[in-house]
């Protein structure tokens, strides 16, 4: 039998040469007359080891990485196809501490299976949730999701079951299920990894949502920056349809669910759900006033379920294993797991799925391995570009929605970006304002104009011009944004700014409380 060798096809792995490595392995094997089967899997999320090549030895999969084209002949010389020792070897993949400590529920298959293999998907528990769902009526599916405690993973953490219930109980000739795959938050990539590495999981979650609320059409609104995910999703939808998991008669249920991927066009604001609906309708991505809620009048005015990729992808497991199984992970009112994304200046950046309640210190040190530069980690931005900067003194606070909110921060979509002590927090605050100005939809004056003023004011503070007066001005600008914005772009842009000022005043030329 041929030996199975895995080389990821995830775009992160591709970005550091996975295709070239795959070709080199195939060529070297052919040259040496070794019979291999090259499998292109998703990424395990151990990005510092990408391209991470795995060999299916009898006892399990062995990891080698990061592999370059130049390493390939030496790997063959070392007999890596039989699990031979090599300096790039890490033993059994599952035993690498970064992976061994995780609680992979949503990511249970990512990196293990070939993304477009329906056989792999089924062999690893795929479609068990949908198969269960077709035996239930809509209300029972919604109840399972409600009971699981699942809250929206796109940022606002609204209970998913409650949203679905509204759509279920709203009459409509047509209803929609829309997946928010805009993943605009910097420092986040879990949606991308899942769509590239286990696309059927998202499809299954959306089909379950369709059955639950009585929607027959779904859309995935995907950011245009994800060309690989786009190709993978389109191919997966075709395969799922051909196999009867989508279409006029979903899994023999007699009920229909169709799915289509639509591309965004490089506007961060289109991740906001009502701007996304406008964009899907072919308009500028301008935020709508709420109410009406999208659950009642959403896409084309019809009742619409909108959820993040991670929210939908958690659903198949909840249906397959029961609400209690999922609910038992986590702490407080934050149930289940969150795929955290470790990025920025870390030795071991990557994906860590853990139950809520883990601390930043554990994520940064135990998983992230500390800073990549070897310098102290000074600040960590949690929750994307609108998230607060967290100083070291808060690294031991458990990651739980309520606890984070109480300290003026947010978990959002789970992005964690670490900065070492060379970071200039005043420049980062300036960047947050600049980003808000660039991406504002223009509907509210504070956000449209105030953010540009904010950039100017921070520039003057950095230059040391009338510092006191400008600091006051910045403070009142932040207040105006906080209170005068229709959505969280303007409403939360002050978070990174204010947290930078509060915790790192010295970077703004302000004496810290404990003077040197």
């Amino acid at each position: 039998m041929s030996i199975r060798i895995f080389v990821p096809i995830d775009s992160g792995a591709l970005s550091v040469g996975a295709n070239e490595v795959a070709k080199a392995i195939a060529a070297e094997a052919a040259k040496r007359g070794i019979d291999i089967e090259l499998v292109r899997n998703g990424s395990r999320g151990l990005y510092w080891l990408e391209p991470l090549v795995e060999v299916d030895a009898h006892a399990g999969r062995l990891a080698y990485g990061p592999v370059t084209v130049e390493d390939v002949p030496a790997l063959f010389d070392a007999g890596f196809v039989d699990g031979g020792m090599h300096r790039l070897g890490h033993g059994l993949t599952e035993h690498i501490p970064f992976l061994a400590g995780q609680e992979r529920l949503t990511f249970q298959r990512v990196g293990i299976t070939a993304p477009l293999s329906l056989d792999d998907y089924l062999a690893h528990g795929g479609f068990a949730g949908l198969t269960q769902a077709i035996t239930l009526d809509g209300a029972a599916i919604v109840k399972a999701v409600t009971d699981s405690g699942l809250r929206g993973r796109g940022g606002a953490a609204f209970p998913t079951g409650i949203k679905w219930n509204t759509v279920l109980n709203t009459a409509g000739s047509q209803k929609y299920v829309v997946c928010n795959a805009d993943e605009g938050d910097s420092g986040t990539f879990s949606d991308r990894m899942l769509m590239e590495g286990d696309p059927f999981c998202l499809i299954e979650g959306m089909a379950i949502a369709g059955l639950a609320v009585g929607a027959t059409q779904g859309y995935i609104y995907l950011r245009s920056e994800y060309p690989h995910a786009f190709k993978t999703l389109k191919a997966a939808i075709e395969l799922a349809r051909a196999a009867g998991w989508l279409g006029a008669d979903v899994a023999g249920s007699g009920r229909a669910f169709e799915l289509e991927v639509r591309l965004g066009a490089g506007a961060y604001i289109c991740g906001e759900e009502t701007a996304m609906l406008e964009s899907l309708e072919g308009k500028r991505g301008i935020v709508r006033f709420k109410p009406p809620l999208p659950a009642i009048q959403g896409l084309f005015g019809k009742p619409t379920v909108i959820n993040n990729v991670m929210s939908f992808a958690a659903v198949p497991l909840i249906l397959a294993k029961g609400a209690a199984f999922y609910r038992d992970y986590g702490m407080g009112r934050s149930h289940g797991t969150l795929p955290f994304q470790l990025a920025g200046n870390l030795r071991h950046p990557g994906l860590v799925e853990k139950a809520f309640g883990i601390t930043l210190r554990e994520l940064l040190l135990d998983y992230g391995g500390g800073s990549a530069s070897g310098r102290p980690i000074r600040a960590v931005q949690v929750g994307g570009p609108l998230g607060a900067f967290v100083p070291e003194s808060q690294f031991d606070v458990p990651l739980d929605y309520e606890t984070y909110a109480a300290m003026g921060a947010m978990i959002g979509h789970g992005g964690i970006v670490a900065f070492d002590d060379t970071a200039d927090m005043a420049r980062l605050a300036r960047y947050a304002m600049e980003f808000c100005a660039t991406e504002s939809c223009g509907k509210c004056t504070p956000c449209r104009i105030g953010s540009t003023r904010g950039v100017e004011v921070i520039d003057r503070i950095i230059a040391g011009e009338a510092r006191e007066a400008n600091l006051d001005l910045l403070d009142s600008l932040c207040d105006t944004l906080l209170h005068g914005s229709l959505c969280a772009l303007g409403g939360m842009a002050p978070y990174p700014v204010k947290s930078a000022l509060k915790h790192f005043p010295e970077d703004f030329g302000v004496e810290p409380v404990t003077a040197e």
């Binding site: 550091v16 938050d185 950011r223 920056e225 591309l263 965004g264 490089g266 500028r284 950046p349 980062l428």
Partner: protein, 168 residues
């Protein structure tokens, strides 16, 4: 900084045909405008002004509405770009890994500011706010290809490669 001023040339018959084709094959979709614009940009590399009345007619919109949508989205180019669009990520994770240095280096090497096209027409430089490749920061995108762990030296090699392609 010097920037090539590109005056859009008149469209060829093939380009007009590509626009009509993009409109006709997507106009019946609900919310057809973005799919049409993507199809046009995929075919031509940009969205010419000549496309606006064709789209407006097909979708029963005013030209101003179509224009408003095109200009709202960063992704759509309203003028021809260089042969390859190079996007450099400016977002936080890449900043934390030396992205600002890379930005400055890219601008100096290419002799353009953001949105500028090199004098030889090879490259258009664009900023981008996260490519979802933050675990391999700093990241750039070259055409359809995403590249991670980018250094100034590797950036030079990428650009040299693009220039060789043109010379070849």
């Amino acid at each position: 900084m010097p920037q090539a001023t590109v005056t859009p040339p008149p469209l060829s018959d093939a380009q007009h045909a590509a626009i009509r084709q993009a409109v006709e094959s997507h106009q019946s979709l609900p919310g057809a405008l973005l799919p049409i614009l993507h199809a046009i940009q995929d075919a031509l590399g940009w969205v010419p002004a000549e496309a606006v009345p064709v789209i407006a007619g097909a979708l029963n919109l005013s030209r101003a509405e179509v224009h408003g949508v095109i200009s709202f989205y960063h992704h759509f180019h309203t003028a021809p770009t260089g042969r390859t669009v190079v996007q450099v990520c400016r977002a936080e994770s890449c900043q934390a890994k030396g992205g600002e240095l890379l930005e400055a280096h890219a601008k100096t090497l290419l002799g353009v500011d953001w949105h500028g096209t090199t004098a030889d027409g090879t490259v258009t430089l664009e900023p981008v706010y996260c490519l979802g490749n933050c675990a391999c920061s700093p990241a750039i995108q070259v055409g359809d290809e995403i590249l991670g762990r980018m250094s100034c030296a590797r950036f030079d090699a990428v650009i040299a490669g693009l220039r060789e392609e043109v010379a070849a």
